[in-house]
């Protein structure tokens, strides 16, 4: 175990914030906080359907600037090169859309709604991601 980098308090608190955002979007707007669905819909829907999605994406995009008003940004370490980032972006976008959701829509919303479909999706992408990391770090 990587005890040096283990951040239980921050990660739990961050999770509670994510849960709060998910809860508020549901209780106030009646909408599922699935980022891939909202981001894709912000480009393809129209009228009022488009506005709330654009507003949500704008909130996400501006969050690091709001964070900066209070504290310096936490460490960000990207080790992948540009080609790999582009390929992964394509896979993540295509896969999340085809699979009707990502870590937020299936992983947080779906699991807390006790959806069997989301459980299957979450177990699938978590397993594939772990196998991918295993192959890249320990086999190649």
């Amino acid at each position: 175990m990587d005890w040096m980098n283990f951040t239980p308090q921050q990660s739990l608190l961050g999770g509670l914030f994510i849960g709060l955002a998910t809860a508020l979007l549901w209780l106030l707007n009646g909408r599922i906080a699935g980022i891939s669905g909202i981001a894709a819909g912000s480009l393809t829907s129209s009228g009022a359907e488009r506005w709330w999605r654009l507003a949500f994406v704008l909130g996400l995009v501006l969050s690091s600037w709001v964070w900066l008003l209070l504290a310096p940004l936490p460490e960000v370490q990207v080790t992948s090169n540009y080609q790999l980032l582009a390929l992964a972006g394509l896979l993540v976008g295509f896969g999340a859309r085809l699979g009707s959701g990502c870590t937020s829509g299936h992983g947080i919303c779906g699991l807390s709604r006790l959806s069997g479909r989301s459980l299957v999706a979450t177990v699938t992408f978590m397993t594939v991601a772990m196998v991918t990391v295993f192959v890249v770090r320990h086999l190649l």
Binding site: G30, G59, G89, A96
Partner: protein
């Protein structure tokens, strides 16, 4: 008309809170995400706690809403109605997991990073948006 303004404002605040949560949790740091996914290496279990925190709060909200006729801003609850385990679900989740495992970025953190001005985040998001579009085209062909 006024209702739509409140819906837009609350969505903005939710997006902001979501992004702050991702930053606080360490989800916006690809190296940390990869450390969580690397169960055979020096495993950092932190991000399991993100899911625990998120799911506990969201579970309470979904449970509460079952007794409510409509949302607090007078809209209907848009319960997802799909339940079938389909090929697109499995193939999509597999490709998503592959991309996530390659660099440690999923859509939310990617948008937060892109917003901070990080070139890696911007590049990832551009290709993610192309991926969304391609998937829509494929779905349209299939149905």
């Amino acid at each position: 008309m006024k209702k739509h303004r409140f819906l837009t404002l609350s969505a903005f605040i939710c997006g902001l809170l979501f992004g702050l949560g991702l930053l606080m949790a360490g989800m916006a740091n690809p190296a940390k995400v990869l450390g969580f996914l690397d169960i055979a290496g020096l495993w950092d279990p932190s991000l399991a706690l993100v899911m625990v925190g998120g799911i506990v709060v969201a579970f309470i909200a979904f449970s509460l809403s079952k007794k409510m006729p409509h949302s607090l801003l007078q809209t209907k609850f848009n319960w997802p109605d799909a339940t079938a385990i389909t090929k697109p679900l499995l193939i999509g989740s597999t490709l998503f997991g592959l991309g996530w495992g390659l660099v440690g970025l999923c859509p939310g953190p990617a948008l937060v990073l892109a917003g901070s001005g990080a070139i890696e985040g911007l590049l990832f998001v551009v290709f993610m948006l192309i991926g969304f579009r391609l998937a829509d085209l494929v779905q349209a062909r299939l149905s």
